[in-house]
Symmetry: D2
Subunit: 412 residues, 4 copies
C-alpha cells in the first residue's frame, strides 16, 4: 500500500548494517504492542552479569532472524526453487514471531512461578490472537510454523538444526558477549543453502562451514549459555521467585507490579490462559523490568531468606558453583548443608534455597543437517564429516552443579 513507503522501513543493526523491512504486514506486526514488548526482554537473561555487553533483546534477535530469512529466500529462489510471494511473506512472519511468547527470564520463570505453561504454548496463543486482529493474514505463517504446510523446507527455515533462528542467535550472542570464537559465517551458510527432496540442505562445498557452525554452537553452550556463573545467577533467580511464591501462598505481602502479582499470588493452567483472554494480556504486560524492580525492593523484605537471596543477586554476590561430570556425593552435599544451616540459622526447608544441586546439558546434535552432493545425494553432516565424531556429537553432555553461598553472615 502506498502508505508503507512513508513508514520507516530500515533499521540499524550493529551486526548486519542496514536491515530493510520487506513487507508492510511485517512493519505492522513490529509496531504491535505484543512485539514491542520484546524490546524489554533480554535474549540472554542474566548473562550480562558475566558478559556485560549481553543486553540485546528478543526484539533485536527476531528482527535479525527476519533479515536472514529474507536473504535465505532470495538465495533459494536464485537456485531455481519456487517460493511464492505468499509463502515468502508467511515464512518471514513465522520467523519474526517465533519467540513472541517468551516472558522475562523465560527459563527461570518457567521453573518457578509460571510453571505449567511453556513459552511455546503462549507463542501459539499470541499468534492466534494476532491472526484474528490481522483478519486471517497470518494463517499460512502459523501453518508453516506448526509444520502443517506441505513444503517442509519452509518450516525447516523457521525451526530445525539450521534455521534462521539459530543462525541469528549464535551470531548475535557471540557479537554482544564478545566471545568472538562463537562467530559463525551466516553469510556463507546462507550462500550454500539449497533444497532437495523438499529438505533444506547445504551444498557439499559448505561442509567445513557446517562443521565450524556445530563447533561454534557447542563452544557457545559451554562458554556462554551454560557458563558456571550464569547458571549460578539463574538458579539464584529461580530460588528467589520460588521463595516469593511460597510467601505469596502464605499471603505474605510482597511489593509487586500488578502483572507479576497476578502470577505470583495465583497459579494458572494452560486452560486458564486459553479461556481467559485477559490473562494473556496480563502475561504480555510482564517483562524484565517487573522482575528486576520487584527483586530490588525485596532486598529489604523482612523475610530473611528472600531478602538475603535478593541482595546476593542485585549486588552480584553470586553463590559459589562447582561443576563436574559426575553427580555430587550425597555426603558432600549433606555436610555442606549442615554447615551452612548452622551458620545461617536455617531450617530444613530453608536450607534448600541456599544449597542446591542440579544438572545441565548441552543441546546435542540430533541429526537433520543435510549435505547435498553434486550428484543429488543427501547425507547427514554427522556422516559426511570425517572430523566430527558422531558418537560424541549425538551424545548429550550432562554436567552436575552444586551451588552454595560464600561463608558470609547472612546479614551481609
Amino acid at each position: 500500500m502506498s502508505s508503507f513507503s512513508n513508514k520507516r522501513k530500515i533499521f540499524n543493526d550493529p551486526i548486519y548494517g542496514f536491515v530493510s523491512i520487506p513487507y508492510e504486514i511485517i512493519f505492522d506486526l513490529i509496531e504491535h504492542p505484543y512485539f514491542q514488548r520484546l524490546r524489554r526482554i533480554k535474549q540472554l537473561g542474566l548473562t550480562n552479569l558475566v558478559y556485560p555487553g549481553a543486553l540485546h533483546t528478543r526484539f533485536h534477535h527476531a528482527m535479525g532472524a527476519m533479515h536472514l530469512m529474507d536473504q535465505a529466500i532470495e538465495e533459494i529462489r536464485s537456485k531455481g526453487h519456487i517460493i511464492t510471494d505468499e509463502e515468502a511473506k508467511a515464512v518471514t512472519i513465522a520467523i519474526l514471531l517465533h519467540d513472541i511468547g517468551h516472558g522475562p527470564f523465560s527459563h527461570a520463570l518457567e521453573h518457578s512461578i509460571v510453571n505449567n505453561v511453556t513459552h511455546e504454548y503462549i507463542s501459539q496463543l499470541l499468534m492466534n490472537r494476532l491472526n484474528n486482529e490481522f483478519k486471517g493474514e497470518l494463517t499460512l505463517a502459523i501453518k508453516i510454523f506448526q509444520d502443517k504446510y506441505h513444503k517442509k523446507f519452509l518450516h525447516q527455515l523457521v525451526s530445525s538444526q539450521l534455521d534462521m533462528d539459530r543462525l541469528d542467535y549464535l551470531k548475535r550472542d557471540s557479537f554482544f558477549t564478545g566471545v568472538s570464537e562463537g562467530v559463525i559465517s551466516s553469510d556463507r551458510i546462507i550462500k550454500m543453502l539449497n533444497v532437495a527432496n523438499d529438505q533444506l540442505a547445504i551444498e557439499a562445498k559448505g561442509i567445513y562451514s557446517i562443521e565450524k557452525f556445530i563447533i561454534a554452537r557447542r563452544l557457545m553452550y559451554w562458554q556462554v549459555y551454560l557458563h558456571k556463573t550464569v547458571l549460578s545467577a539463574e538458579n539464584l533467580l529461580v530460588n528467589i521467585l520460588k521463595r516469593a511464591k511460597e510467601l505469596a501462598q502464605k499471603k505474605v505481602k510482597l511489593f509487586c507490579t500488578p502483572a507479576l502479582q497476578t502470577f505470583l499470588y495465583k497459579q494458572y493452567s494452560k486452560n486458564d490462559f486459553k479461556n481467559t483472554p485477559h490473562l494473556l494480556d496480563t502475561f504480555a504486560a510482564l517483562d524484565d523490568n517487573d522482575i528486576t524492580a520487584s527483586i530490588k525492593v525485596w532486598t529489604s523484605h523482612n523475610d530473611p531468606i528472600l531478602s538475603t537471596l535478593c541482595r546476593q543477586l542485585v549486588n552480584r554476590r553470586l553463590f559459589t558453583i562447582e561443576m563436574q561430570s559426575i553427580s555430587f556425593k550425597k555426603s558432600k552435599i549433606n555436610k555442606l548443608k549442615k554447615d551452612i544451616q548452622k551458620q545461617y540459622q536455617l531450617n530444613n526447608n530453608e536450607i534448600n534455597y541456599f544449597v542446591f544441586s542440579g544438572t545441565v546439558s548441552n543441546d546435542a546434535y540430533r541429526g537433520g543437517i543435510n549435505i547435498l552432493y553434486k550428484d543429488g545425494t543427501l547425507k547427514d553432516i554427522a556422516k559426511a564429516s570425517d572430523q566430527l565424531n558422531i558418537d560424541v556429537l549425538t551424545k548429550t553432555v550432562k554436567k552436575y552443579y552444586l551451588c552454595y553461598p560464600k561463608l558470609l553472615s547472612h546479614k551481609s
Copy 2:
C-alpha cells in the same frame, strides 16, 4: 595482595576484547553496590527505541574508559613523562567513578522529578562516601577529578575535550547503535598522546585523526544524541514524569517502587542529599527498571493524561516531531494546540503535555585540544587545522523542535 590474583581480573568487551582490571582497589570498587547499580542504567536512555542495539550501560562505559586510561598512562609514560603508581591508580579510579552519580534516564529525571540536584553533585557525594568506606584511598582520585591536583594533565585525561570518557563513549555508542561512521580510532589517538607544559596534547602527525574525531563527534550528535525520534521519546518521558509529579503533589495514588515514590512525592534539595545519608542510598536504589516498570503500570491509570502519555511511550507511538533552525511561529503552535485540545478534550494546562516545543544544541567545540609540534610549540586544533572551520566549530548549533501527537483518539 595475594587474594587479588584469585579474583576475576579479566572481562570481555565486544569492543576492546579482553580488558584487565589493573588494581585491586578498582576490582573492589567495581564490586561495590554503588557501581554495580550502573549495570541497570543504560548509557543512552531511550535511544534504543531508534537504534535497538543501544542498550549498553553506564557500567560498561565506565569499564571501557578505565581500559583506555590504562593504555593512555602506559603511552604517556613511554614518552618519558612521569606518572607515579599512586597517580596512575588515582586517575584510573577517577575515570571509573566519573559517572557514578547518574540516575536512570538522567537527563529526563533532572528535568522532571529530581530537578535541583545534578548528577555531578551526586557523583561527588558518592565518591566521598566511598572514600570513607575505603579509608581515604580515594583522596587523590577525588583531587584529580576536581582539578585540584597540581599535575593538570591528569585531570584532562578524566575530563577535557579529549578525555578517556569521550573516547570511550563515542566508540561505544557508535558500536552499539551500529552508526559506523561515528567510530573513532581510539587506538591511534592514544598512540599520539603526549604532554607538554603540563597540558595533554596530540602529536602533530595525529592532526587528521583529531579532525576526524571532531567530525565523528558532531555526526554522533545529530545522528544519535539529538536524533529527532530520540528527542521526541525523551520529551515524552519528561512529560510523563512531570505529570506523575503533578498528580503526586495532589496526593493522587500512583503505583511506584519505594525509591521512586520517595522522589515523586517529595522534593529534595542539595542540602537534603548532603545531610540525610539515607536519601543518597535511596537515590542509589533507583534505576531504569523503577521508571519503566512504573510507567507500564501507569498505562492503565485513571488519569487520562498520564495513561495516554504512558501508552504512547510503552507501545512506541511517539509524538510527531518537527525540527528546524528557526523558532516555531507562535501562531502555528497555538493553532496546533487548539486542534489537539479539541480533539483530545484537554484544558489549558493539560494541552502542554501534548504539544510542546523546545531547543537543543550540540556540544560545540570550545577549544582545548592541543596539537604538539616537533619544535615543542602547542596550537589549538581549531588553529592547527586548515580544514576545520573555527567559526563553525566554536558556534553552538541550536535547533528548535515542536512535538505533538498524531491525529489519534486518545483512547487509542
Copy 3:
C-alpha cells in the same frame, strides 16, 4: 545462458564478504587476459613500503567497484527510477573496466618512460579492442563511460565525486593499509543514493555521511596517498626509470623484460599506440613484476647513478624528504646540491637524480555532490553543510617537497 551457471560466480572479498558476478559477460571480461593482468598491478604502487598490507591490486578494486555498482543499481531502482537491464549491464561493464588501461606504478611510469600517453587513453583503446572481440556488446558501456549517453546519472555512478570507484577505493585502501580512520560507510551512502533531474544525489538525511566521506577522503590523501615516505619512494622510482631511459638512449645495455625494453629503448606517441595493434599488446604485457625484477638487476649495473638509486629502493634506504607549505629557497637547494655533489662525486646533470624538489596537491573538492531535500530541491554539499568550509574544501592544498640522500657513501 546455461553455461554461466557452471562457472564460478562468487568470489571472496575480505571487505564485502561474498561477491556475486551479476552477468555472464562480466564473467567473460574478468577472464580476459587484459583484465587478468590487473592481478599483477598493485592499486597503490609503492605504498606498501610504508603500509605493508597495501598490496591489493587493481583487479580486486575493479571487482569491488563492480559489486558496489550492483548494489547502487538495486537501490536506485527500488526508489522508482528506471534502469533497464541493458543499462544496468552497461554501467556495470563500465565500472569494471574503468581502470583497465593502468600500467604498473602508473604515476611513475607516466612521468618517466611512457610519458606522452595517459592511462585514460590506453583504457579507451583497450575498451575498443574488447568491444571488437565481444562483437559490439560493450558499445553502450563505452558510451556511458565517455558521458555520451543521455542518462547522465549513469555516468556519474562511474565517474564523479561520488562514484563507485571512489567508494570502493577509499574503503579498500583504508582496509588494506590499516588506516582505519579512512573507512567510509559505503553501505549507508548507497542506501541514501537517489536521482533527481537526472543527477545522482544523496538524500538529505545522509548529509553527515557525506561530510564524513569528504573528511575521510582528505585524511587518506595526507595520510596515505601523499604520505611523505611514499612520495620519496615514488620519486626515487621516477628517477630510476628516467636514468634508465637516459642510458638506453645512449645505447647502454640494460637487463630488461622484452616488454619493458620496448618502452625503454624507444619513445612512442599516442598515434603509435593507435596505429600499431602490437604495441598495445606489448603494453598490456607490462606489470609490476617487469619493473621490480629489472630494478633488482640494476642494483649491480655499472652505471653508479643507476645502481645506487636502485639499491636505495630495493633495500628501502629511501631519501630523506622534507615537506612544507612554501617553496624551498633556491639557496638551500643549491647548498644541498653542492654538498651532495661533492660527497657523491656527481656532475651537474647527475646531481638532479639525487637532490630534487617538486610539489604535490590533494584532490580538492570541485563540487558535484548533490544533496536532495524532501521538497525536491538539490543543493551542493559545500552549501548544504554548515560544517564544511567551502573556501577550504574547494582550495587545492599544495605542498612543496625536497628529497635528498642521507649522508652515506654512495658505495653503501
Copy 4:
C-alpha cells in the same frame, strides 16, 4: 641506543592495529636487505588466483608473529614465570627470522629447481650470516630456534603446535583471503598461555578456544592451503619450472633474471650453499618477481610445451583438477593421457607435463598442545577434549588429485 628513539618504531597492521617494534636490534634486522626481501615474497604463493586478497607477504607475517611474541612474553611474565630481558629479545629475534630462508613460491621451487636444499637449511645459513654481521648478538636466538636452550618453552613459542608462527598465519591468512571462518582468537589464546614443567600450556578454561583453533586450522587446510584450484595452479608452476630446467640442461636459451639463471642452469647442493658465500646472496636476490616476470616472457617461447603451460598460468586458464579419497585408476589416467597426447601431439615424456597426479595431506595434529588444570596436571588437548576425535585428529587425511588441461587446442 639514543638513535633508536628517532627511528620509526610503529607500523600499521590491518589485523592488530599499531604494532610497536620492541628492541633496537629488531629494528636493525628488519632494515637488513635479507629481511626486506621478504616484502617481495607472498606468504601464500599462488593462492591469490582463488582468493584475490591473499597477497600478504612473509615480511608482514614475520612482523605479526613478532607482535604476538611480544604479547605472549608479557602474559607469561605476568603469571610469575621468569623470562629475562636477554631471553625475551632472543625469542623475539627467533620468531622474526623463523622464515628468513624462504624463497619465492617456496614449495614449488623446492619441487623443481632448488630441490636439494630446504628453506629451513637456508634459514640457518642466513641466521648465521646475520649473527656474524651483528657480532654474535643472535647467538641465543639461534640456540632457542634450534631447541638447544635449556628453557624448552621458549622454543615452543617459536615452533610447536601452538607457536606464534601458527597463531599469526592462521589469523592473517583468513583475514586476507576473507575466509572468515578461519579466524582464531589469538587474543584469547595468548591470555590463556602459561608454563608448567617448562612446557608451554593453555589454562583449562581455554579448552574451547583450542578446540576451535584446531578446527579452524583444519578448515583453512581444506578451504585454502589445499584448495583444489590452488593445487592445480601450484602444480602448473612446478611443471613450468621443471620444463624450464629441462630445457636449460639442454642449453636452450631462456629469458631469465640473473639470479634465476644461476639456479636454472646449474644444480647446487647443500654444501655448495655452505661453502660459496656468493651463492647464498644470489639466492637472497630471488623473489616472486623473478619467477613471474620470467614466466610471462616464456609465454612466447618457441618450446610449445613451455609456452603453453606459461600461458595457462599467466592468463589463469588452469588445469581441471579432480580430488578424491582413493587413488585414481591407472586405466583412467592412461586413457586420459592417450586422449590429450593425441589432441596436443605430445610425446611420452611431454604428456607428463599435462596430465599428472599426486597426493596431498593436511597437517594432522601430532600432540603437543597441553591443557593445564588448576591442580597443576597437564593433559594433551586430544585427551582433554570430549569433542575432538583423537583418532581422526591424529590421522593424516590424504587426498589424491589428478590434473589435466581442458579440451583446448594447445595453440589457444
